[in-house]
Point group: C2
Chain length 394, copies 2
């Protein structure tokens, strides 16, 4: 009656979403304040004041037709120019509206890119640990995900990536600051990747894209700054979203950047438009396009994330946990004392603490904690982590 | 380098969008007031006051986290209940949130339905005249569109549909009030279709869906009311959007209705969720989900459309044009005096009047006029139509 694949994807749903819905039910039973729900990357800081101010201005001063109407499929020109200008100022680039395609958020950006570039037999290299939906999206758009293990400190393992590249490799996908680890890949690591890709492009006589999924670019806690990939490697496509940086996850607003330096830039941008069309994306939500036009320079409020990050990153190693260094994003990736993340998550549930098993991210010995929550819950969690560690010592 | 299909879809773009962009350029050259742009179905009446009032309330009284956060992928429960309640009151049904899946507008609704139900080899019957993107969407989701001619008055031709049904038929797609003709299919016509489908389901021992694309359900100018299809045929899936009824085309907000009477309702609803996931639709835009929760009973303002419709439907036949009877929507489907719609559109351009050739809608002897514009432009157009008719009399 229905597509078996879709039924399967709809039934065996995203593990993260399932835990989130379990958490919502539990909250109704025992009160939200008693559930340490660290499952979902739903920003806990509200959108910056500029966003509500812009919306208030729109409804008070403009005619609804000025902000509720269709825009062109690539997005409102002034919005795209504002995004380009913001990038130009920060990264010394020379983009204009022809480089920016507005989308319904990061999931849309990625699916549109995959649909635009993948042809039959194409492989996309995905670096472990990775956001689980990457696999769903790549397979959904007809590609084959090929997974590359990371180095011990959770950086890119260049030798491993090299061993996975072959003539069918269409792209390498990276995500820094990383979900689930919070790790920011250092410049040398990325330059080594760029060198490898340049060499492989020559060897196979066709371009290999670097797809940079960057929803966490603005969420950085230390002096490490995420590199701007198009300045390191020409054939870079950027998938961006304001879900995390402006705390607008439900509004579905993001963009795809196709720099001029991408080979056959015009064709790639046209294929992006074709892919958006065939996936049913008529235009990005128009009111939030206008919000972005006015708020693209707004600064995210990351103080609560920084506080939470510091508490966790100081306390957990002292208790005996091995954790990745979260330079950015709002996730802590914690090694289970039993080397079994699933088992650790089940134990944590007893204390009403909800974590996501690392298995779906490609590292089953880990668990992911989202610290985009009230600091009180982070403080409460330290005791739970102690009790859990004590259980392993029995 | 990129997918040839996507490049093709991005280059040979939607004819309607191309004319619209030609019109935008022309408006910059000679002034928008001098372009009779009847190309796009972009509502000319602003969204009802309730929409801006709800948004103002949200930004003034609520925390942004209450409206900018992720909702569950099927949508906010209260919003889905409000939609179900609205349908129950109007159509004596008994829906709840388990029947409503919130989407990013009609294009998303349709693509998600097609992706959910289509398996290899499946055919979808599309009734002529039809919205051109149906072909793109069905093919994009792996199905084969099979086109069925209409009867002389542009109703469904039941014999023609019967001749197109075979064991591979997964669904029949209809759209009433119709884009591009404005025609509302009468009850007897739809009941005859339902009878045919019931018989064919038995014959082939598998369900055949009726997909009802209903963005124009609320835009009706006469006493003819569009039938509510789920009350006529059990295996009906409804694709809805508030783009036209609440004048919110840029905001991308709509829903899919999966009634309980649909065979294996739970599986179909799950497959809809799987399809939304794999197409990158994380959730429908959250702020506008809350708008819908509060404005689902708001009445569209269709007086300007009615005025425009009446002027055109009275004047054009007097000048000698053959036009379909626009019971709803905001389109007039006009037969070219030369039986060649492309040629007529080119002639009209000389007078800065932009119409869409009927070819893309499956009827090349016609042209489509969107009358969701200022009445002044409709009045101006009458003279142009006279001049054009005079040209054919020379």
């Amino acid at each position: 009656m229905v597509s078996k694949k879709m039924l399967d994807l709809g039934t065996k749903r995203s593990v993260i979403r399932d835990i989130f819905e379990y958490g919502s039910k539990l909250a109704k039973e025992i009160g939200a304040e008693n559930v340490l729900d660290f499952s979902l990357g739903n920003p806990s800081t509200p959108a910056p004041r500029e966003v509500a101010n812009t919306i208030r201005y729109m409804v008070e001063e403009l005619s609804p037709r000025e902000y509720n109407s269709y825009t062109s499929s690539a997005g409102d020109t002034d919005t795209r120019l504002a995004v380009a200008k913001n990038l130009n100022q920060r990264f010394s680039t020379d983009y204009n509206e022809q480089n920016i395609f507005m989308t319904c958020g990061a999931a849309a950006s990625l699916n549109i890119i995959f649909k635009a570039i993948i042809e039959s037999g194409d492989e996309i290299i995905v670096n472990i640990p990775y956001f689980p939906e990457y696999k769903v999206f790549i397979e959904g758009q007809g590609g084959k995900p090929v997974f590359a293990k990371c180095s011990e400190n959770l950086y890119l393992d260049i030798d491993e990536i090299e061993s996975k590249i072959n003539e069918n490799t269409k792209a390498v996908l990276i995500n820094s600051p990383n979900n689930p680890s919070g790790v920011i890949y250092p410049k040398e690591n990325l330059e080594a990747l760029a060198e490898l890709l340049k060499q492989k492009q020559k060897e196979y006589s066709h371009p290999i894209f670097l797809i940079s999924d960057e929803p966490y670019r603005e969420l950085v806690f230390t002096n490490e700054k995420p590199e701007f990939l198009p300045n390191i490697y020409d054939n870079t496509l950027v998938a961006y979203s304001w879900s995390k940086s402006l705390s607008l996850p439900g509004e579905r607003i993001g963009y795809i950047l196709v720099p001029n330096k991408v080979k056959d830039h015009g064709e790639v941008f046209a294929a992006v438009g074709g892919a958006a069309r065939v996936l049913g994306y008529v235009c990005a939500p128009s009111m939030f396009q206008y919000v972005i036009k006015n708020c693209v320079d707004a600064q995210p409020n990351i103080e609560v994330y920084r506080t939470n990050r510091n508490i966790l990153f100081e306390s957990l190693p002292k208790i005996g946990y091995t954790v990745a260094n979260p330079g950015g994003a709002f996730y802590l990736f914690i090694k289970s004392p039993s080397d079994d993340g699933n088992e650790f998550c089940e134990r944590a549930k007893k204390y009403h603490m909800l974590l996501v098993p690392g298995e779906g991210f490609g590292m089953k010995e880990y668990v992911r904690l989202s610290f985009c929550v009230d600091t009180k819950k982070i403080e409460k969690s330290i005791d739970v982590f102690k009790k859990l560690m004590d259980e392993y010592k029995l």
